[in-house]
Symmetry: C2
Subunit: 156 residues, 2 copies
């Protein structure tokens, strides 16, 4: 197996995948690769407001915790301080995640995507969770006909 | 253990977490919850262009595959057809993921986040991968001083 056919982060970084999932992964990865078309370097592409979306993922469980925005300074500080620093669009200021709540996100790995317009941050989430509601993840509304609703399991 | 202290999707949907990760999860989830503050319903918040960011995650491995954008029609079609349909900002048209490549994403679960401005889609990724480069995931550039670079393991 070539290195390039493996997960981009070591499987050991995630919760272990089942054998079946791993086998499927490798079979799929061996088809029609166009790796050589890929530029060697990439720069973040900032939107009209100078921001880029950043996805935070729990590296222990794989769960997607939240999506927030970063300006150039926030991304630079995140990489330098090894903890997530976002840009609060509502407050128009830097937002050191967990500064008041204690729910800091320690950065383990960062990746920029193929066209440079989204960042993925793999983190160790400290404290109760990433969400301001106290939940582990911000993604908890389920589709239900016209609405998105709080699932039964998410109600007190 | 209350339902609300559990992962928002069944652990069985993901690759199994290690016992240690699961224990950490539950301990953290028991602190300072503010579940009762949470609205029962939520609506997607479209940006100035009528779009919302959508994160696609491989439900078998937990890997974050890509981030793309949806307009109202794309999100409606995604939920109705149980496969991802995005809005291509470059082509200004609906983009049925995998229509030409065969790399369709079958939708397993969709979640809207706490403030309604991001969608998470958990999918079964068919074919070689989500990325136009042939890679499984679009997130493969690593930070390296001033640049983001293609890791050694990602080169042909």
């Amino acid at each position: 197996m070539r290195q390039s056919e493996r997960c981009w982060l070591s499987q050991a970084s995630f919760a272990p995948a089942s054998d079946q999932a791993t086998a499927t992964w490798h079979n799929q990865s061996m088809s029609t690769l166009r790796y050589s078309d890929t530029p060697i370097t990439m720069q973040p592409k900032w939107n009209a407001d100078g921001l880029i979306p950043a996805i935070a993922q729990d590296i222990a469980t794989g769960e997607v915790l939240m999506m927030a925005w970063m300006n150039e300074e926030a991304l630079r500080l995140t990489l330098a301080e090894k903890r997530t620093v976002y840009w609060s669009r509502s407050r128009q200021s830097l937002w050191r995640k967990g500064e008041t709540s204690g729910n800091v996100q320690h950065l383990v790995a960062a990746r920029l995507d193929c066209d440079g317009d989204t960042v993925l941050l793999q983190v160790n989430q400290i404290g109760g969770g990433a969400c301001h509601t106290g939940r582990r993840s911000c993604f908890f509304y389920e589709p239900d006909r016209q609405d998105w609703v709080l699932g039964e399991s998410e109600r007190e």
